[in-house]
């Protein structure tokens, strides 16, 4: 039998390794579609690490929102745009110093965060979800729909305003566009579409010579 903590540790190292390799892939792969797919893998393995840290909700949100929606959108954009690789790599050396500075600052900040967990428990108390004996997602859901119901609904209202504003600012009724009217299509009768013309079964014999002699065509 494997010790659960050992299993957890093994899982963590496996997911972390995948995350790092995939993240490296994002910035090194030449094909931009591959890079985006590699980013999807990075997100997915990060979500797995969050699961290990008992942040189930964050993990689910990352997969649903980022992998499911944002990255698919990205993929479409990347596929539709005609991106030249050489063009993208042009300024690499020039921007390298700035990039290194930013990277070092971020590294220092992350290292500084390591001690925060112990401080955090001192100021904020224990994790309320574990205290209530619930899973992270369950607790979050209950809090959202009881304690934070009002802010949650106001946020929904803000999203509604976003939709109304987007439509109001972008929808243009242009003249001359061709479109179908479903109601008219359904209400159509056979007589509107097909006209039955009564004709004699045979061509009258007397007419034929008169047609061939065209008075206009004179030499």
């Amino acid at each position: 039998m494997i010790d659960p903590s050992v299993f957890q540790l093994v899982c963590f190292y496996a997911f972390a390794a995948v995350t790092v390799v995939a993240a490296l892939g994002v910035i090194t792969l030449r094909n931009s579609v591959h890079a985006v797919l590699s980013l999807v893998l990075t997100f997915f393995s990060t979500a797995c690490i969050w699961l290990l840290a008992e942040a189930e909700f964050l993990a689910i949100a990352l997969i649903v929102v980022y992998v499911g929606a944002v990255m698919v959108l990205f993929l479409f954009v990347v596929m539709m745009l005609d991106i030249k690789q050489e063009h993208l790599r042009e300024g690499f050396i020039r921007y390298l110093p700035v990039g290194i500075v930013v990277a070092v600052v971020m590294l220092v900040e992350m290292l500084a965060l390591i001690g925060v967990r112990t401080m955090h428990e001192a100021v904020m108390g224990a994790n309320p979800a574990t205290a209530a004996g619930l899973s992270n997602t369950q607790w979050l859901g209950q809090a959202l729909y009881t304690q934070f119901l009002l802010p949650f609904e106001i946020a929904a209202l803000i999203l509604t305003v976003g939709v109304v504003a987007a439509v109001a600012l972008t929808l243009r009724h242009r003249g001359g566009t061709r479109h179908q009217t479903a109601a008219q299509q359904v209400a159509v009768k056979a007589t509107d579409r097909v006209r039955i013309v009564k004709m004699a079964a045979e061509r009258p014999a007397t007419d034929a010579p008169a047609q061939t002699q065209n008075p206009e065509t004179k030499p």
């Binding site: 802010p151 209202l157 504003a165 109001a168």
Partner: protein, 479 residues
């Protein structure tokens, strides 16, 4: 656990949300010719909301949704006047919008959503509700400013407003997160006690400074005023009139909630900062307004100076100061709607009437409009016996009672400087000859003329009989 009682406390807001959604649906199924039905319905919806706010007002302040929402006297008075402003905006803007192909249902819906934001903001009992109410208000405002999407000026104003507004919201959130970090609570009532409990750590002070920056942005107080002139000028006048009225009431409500209800114990710290903001706003607003030739820009700088006066009332940090600031906010909202109302009454298709020179000789062409504009300008300048005079008098008095005589003197000096540019407008209307080849055509909408006249005459009536309104303002701030 929220229950029915919580919902009943929030009845006016919930009613407005439902009504806004219904109006949105109605608009989708209505022919453009029937839009005047939507117009009158929107006005009726807002008036009913005023009735619900006043009739359902409880005797004592009540809290709903675990303290997220507070319904008290301050909220009632602010909501009443914010809704009244929106109703006035609807009445004034109809023919203006119709002339510019902006007469669309979204104008009404977005406006109602914005005023719901105002109502939530002034009733907020929690930092989260403050932020969300504010975002609801500002997001609707961004869209409204950009509504005239074929105008370059309008789009530019909307982008500036959006970027600066997002920055201000970020500052506000940053401050809130610091305050949360220092006190471990988001609830404003708990926060009020917590400051005394934990002492005043630097983190709390920093959080307060960032929140004051956010408030300054929303008030449009210098040095956070840069967006005001461009937005006032670029937005369609029908939107400018809104931005100049209800959101100012909301900004006062926000300042009151955050600074008094939340950080009241720290008043000794924020009084000095507000005093600095007030002096800067008075100076920049009044001095820059002198050189303006565009009427909307002039009114924008005048707003900045008026926010300086409003801050004079807040600096007092006592019931008297809050009452005078509230009184000032109401007076400014009524004066602002009347001023932009006159501009909209004179504007027509292809003519905005936004240059001061457009008003030349207005008295010979439309004596009544010239008279109304004169009333508004005198009131804005603070000439007795108009409404604006008494409002200025009260805030100056409360600054003196707060022991800041120098601040009151600065306020009085700048009031005299400000007199110059208000009187210039009056001079142009009464003593300049009309420009040859131009004409002034009044909008024919009888509702607009009637309500605008009433609005401007109210400034005179309230200037003579200010007692009841001041009594109402004072009664909501228990000593």
């Amino acid at each position: 656990m929220p229950n029915l009682n919580d919902i009943l406390i929030m009845l006016p807001e919930l009613y407005l949300v439902a009504a806004a959604c219904l109006l949105l649906l109605l608009d989708a199924f209505m022919k453009p010719e029937q839009r005047s039905l939507l117009h009158w319905l929107s006005i009726a919806v807002v008036l009913v909301a005023i009735y619900l706010v006043i009739s359902g007002q409880p005797e004592q302040p009540v809290r709903a949704f675990g303290g997220m929402f507070v319904r008290d006297g301050v909220a009632e008075i602010l909501k009443t006047f914010a809704l009244l402003c929106v109703a006035l905006v609807f009445v004034y803007s109809r023919s203006y919008l119709a002339d510019r192909k902006l007469y669309v249902g979204e104008f009404y819906t977005l406006m109602i959503f914005a005023v719901i934001g105002v109502m939530l903001l002034v009733s907020a009992g929690n930092l989260i509700t403050v932020y969300l109410g504010l975002e609801l208000l500002t997001l609707s405002s961004y869209a409204l400013v950009a509504l005239n999407r074929d105008s370059k000026l309008s789009s530019e104003a909307a982008v500036k407003y959006f970027v600066l507004g997002a920055l201000a919201s970020g500052m506000l959130l940053y401050g809130m997160s610091m305050v949360y970090g220092a006190t471990a609570t988001l609830d404003l009532a708990t926060l009020h006690g917590a400051a005394a409990h934990t002492g005043v750590p630097n983190l709390l002070l920093f959080g307060m400074i960032f929140m004051i920056i956010g408030i300054g942005f929303k008030l449009g107080a210098a040095p956070f005023h840069m967006w005001i002139p461009d937005v006032y000028q670029g937005a369609p006048t029908a939107v400018t009139i809104f931005i100049g009225s209800a959101p100012k009431l909301a900004a006062f409500g926000m300042a009151y909630r955050l600074l008094e209800a939340g950080l009241g114990d720290l008043s000794a710290h924020w009084q000095q900062m507000l005093a600095a903001l007030a002096v800067l706003s008075l100076a920049i607003g009044n001095l820059v307004a002198i050189v303006q030739t565009n009427l909307k820009r002039l009114l924008a700088y005048s707003t900045i100076s008026h926010m300086g006066y409003l801050l004079l009332g807040l600096v007092n940090a006592g019931p008297e100061g809050y009452a005078s600031a509230l009184f000032y906010a109401i007076s400014y909202a009524l004066m602002g709607t009347a001023a932009f109302g006159v501009i909209m009454a004179l504007a027509r298709a292809g003519f905005e009437c936004e240059e001061i020179d457009d008003l030349k000789g207005l008295n010979q062409r439309s004596p009544w409009m010239a008279f109304l504009m004169m009333l508004v300008m005198f009131s804005l300048a603070g000439v007795p016996p108009l409404f604006g005079f008494f409002a200025k008098f009260l805030v100056l008095q409360s600054a003196i009672h707060a022991g800041m005589l120098w601040l009151a003197i600065v306020g009085a000096v700048f009031a005299i400087i400000g007199l110059y540019y208000y009187l210039r407008v009056v001079k142009v209307m009464y003593f300049d000859a009309p420009v040859e080849g131009t004409e002034i055509k009044l909008q024919q909408d009888p509702a607009l003329r009637l309500v605008l006249s009433l609005n401007a005459l109210t400034l005179l009536v309230l200037g003579l009989a200010w007692g009841p309104l001041l009594g109402w303002c004072k009664s909501v701030f228990p000593g």
